[in-house]
């Protein structure tokens, strides 16, 4: 048993830390201890803090690493996913040998190796309306590093209901948004965005992707905000939305106000319980957001057979130019976003097969073209991914 060395100085009017640091901990955290903004008292607060990280992906990776390194006494990790190869470009918690492992398991192992002095709790599960309040109960601060609207609204509402601050970060390509929601008196996510985008209007996934280092920067800012809340120092991002653009390398700051009419945190809340967030976000059943159904489809095999026998089929690729560079099947490229202006390039008397990566954008394209009077138009079922699986395995999947 290590000798207890440090004890906290009493801080008037505040919950005072009661733990102490071992000799090894004093050594480990010495660069914190020698700065007055943290010091022994701050480090003991960090040691007593309990932080729940929702998501152990791009944002959760730097967040988990820095919180563990800083000595946050209990870190909870919630994720249902397993590590896959495409994660490694940015999820620096994981190595190549972790591919296929549950993320929480691989993350916990890495964090325990980084700092054996702390407790890591793992929850290899989806965060749901049924388990969120119970999970949040045992933690002081919740950090939202998820990737979808239903979970973001769930995290927000559960934070407001349980009175826990929500350190929020989200990213898109090379742009990030960071703030602290749910702090007593401060705004919540619903004050900023009362409703999620309806399915289909979510900015196209074709425009998706993310600069690998971006979640590193945004997740690290979330870690900094979390530590500031724990030690009670500095100016937290409460009521301020920090926007970061990695391409321009610019930070901007916007004012966030608490909406007195907010249905969750306002003066007269109309929602005091968790709801069905998939329904709230307009997502039902197995259908992903924005799924267009009931358009004519053609299977990759059928298309191949018909092209091989010389049928006059015009293959229209509605992906983005940079996707075309990764792989293509010699289609005529018109990105979905440009289709409305470039529809004159198409001959409505010819048979057209539209394809994209997995079939969703091409379904939208077919729906649009049918609305524009095209009759002989269908969507390649499963997109170029299915083409790679079923027709030509030399086409790389991305």
């Amino acid at each position: 048993m290590a000798t207890k060395i440090g004890t906290a100085a009493p801080s008037p009017g505040d919950e005072k830390p009661t733990a102490s640091l071992s000799k090894q901990e004093v050594m480990r955290y010495s660069r914190h201890l020698i700065m007055p903004e943290v010091g022994m008292e701050g480090q003991l607060r960090i040691k007593q803090a309990k932080v729940l990280c929702i998501g152990t992906g791009g944002l959760g990776a730097p967040l988990g690493l820095y919180l563990a390194a800083a000595g946050v006494g209990r870190i909870g990790l919630v994720d249902f996913d397993v590590v896959d190869t495409t994660n490694l470009q940015r999820q620096v918690l994981f190595g190549t040998s972790d591919v296929g492992r549950p993320k929480t398991e691989a993350a916990a192992e890495r964090l325990r190796n980084l700092n054996p002095e702390i407790q890591i709790e793992t929850f290899d599960t989806h965060l749901t309306s049924a388990n969120a309040l119970e999970l949040f109960k045992d933690y002081d601060i919740i950090v939202d590093g998820t990737d979808n609207f239903p979970t973001r609204y769930l995290v927000n509402d559960a934070c407001v209901i349980t009175g826990k601050p929500n350190v929020y970060g989200s990213i898109f390509r090379f742009e990030g948004q960071i703030t602290v929601f749910g702090y007593p008196g401060g705004p919540c996510y619903r004050c900023l965005y009362p409703e999620p985008p309806p399915p289909g209007l979510v900015p196209s996934c074709a425009e998706g992707g993310v600069l690998g280092v971006l979640p590193g920067i945004v997740g690290t800012i979330q870690a900094a905000e979390t530590l500031k809340l724990i030690i009670g120092k500095g100016a937290p991002l409460i009521g301020r939305l920090l926007l970061f653009d990695a391409l321009a390398m610019k930070f901007r700051e916007l004012k966030l106000r608490k909406n007195p009419e907010c249905p969750v945190c306002g003066e007269h809340p109309t929602q005091t319980k968790l709801i069905d967030y998939a329904e709230f976000c307009g997502i039902r059943g197995e259908e992903g957001p924005g799924t267009v159904t009931n358009v004519p489809e053609i299977t990759p095999k059928e298309l191949k057979t018909r092209l091989d026998r010389g049928d006059d089929i015009y293959v229209l690729d509605v992906r983005e130019p940079h996707e075309y560079q990764i792989c293509n099947i010699n289609g005529h490229l018109i990105p979905l976003g440009e289709l409305s202006q470039r529809v004159h390039e198409l001959d409505s008397s010819r048979e057209i097969v539209a394809h994209c990566k997995s079939g969703k954008r091409s379904a939208e394209a077919v729906e649009f073209l049918r609305g524009a009077g095209f009759r002989k138009v269908s969507s390649l079922k499963g997109g170029i991914l299915a083409w790679s699986d079923q027709v030509d395995p030399s086409v790389p999947k991305y």
Partner: protein, 98 residues
Amino acid sequence: MAVKVIIPTPLRAYAGKQESVEVQAGTVGEALAALTGKFADLKKHLFSDDGRLRSFVNVYVNDEDIRYLQKDQTAVKAGDTISIVPSIAGGAHERANR
């Protein structure tokens, strides 16, 4: 008056891939009308069918949310910056591209 409208990454595809667009306007409403006049595809991303700003899109003049100013009647002067800030959800892992 010339004001700058900053286009967020997710909407740049509908605004000629530009990061910002300069428009002539005296109010936020005029600026957004000028913008969607230039880029028709932006319209459905910013406004619902009844012409109201969508609830997942916020508009700021400099660092102030127009919902707490005079909404689309908020006056703008030369040199002001209008920011369009939609909600983005990415973080843990990207869903497979469609």
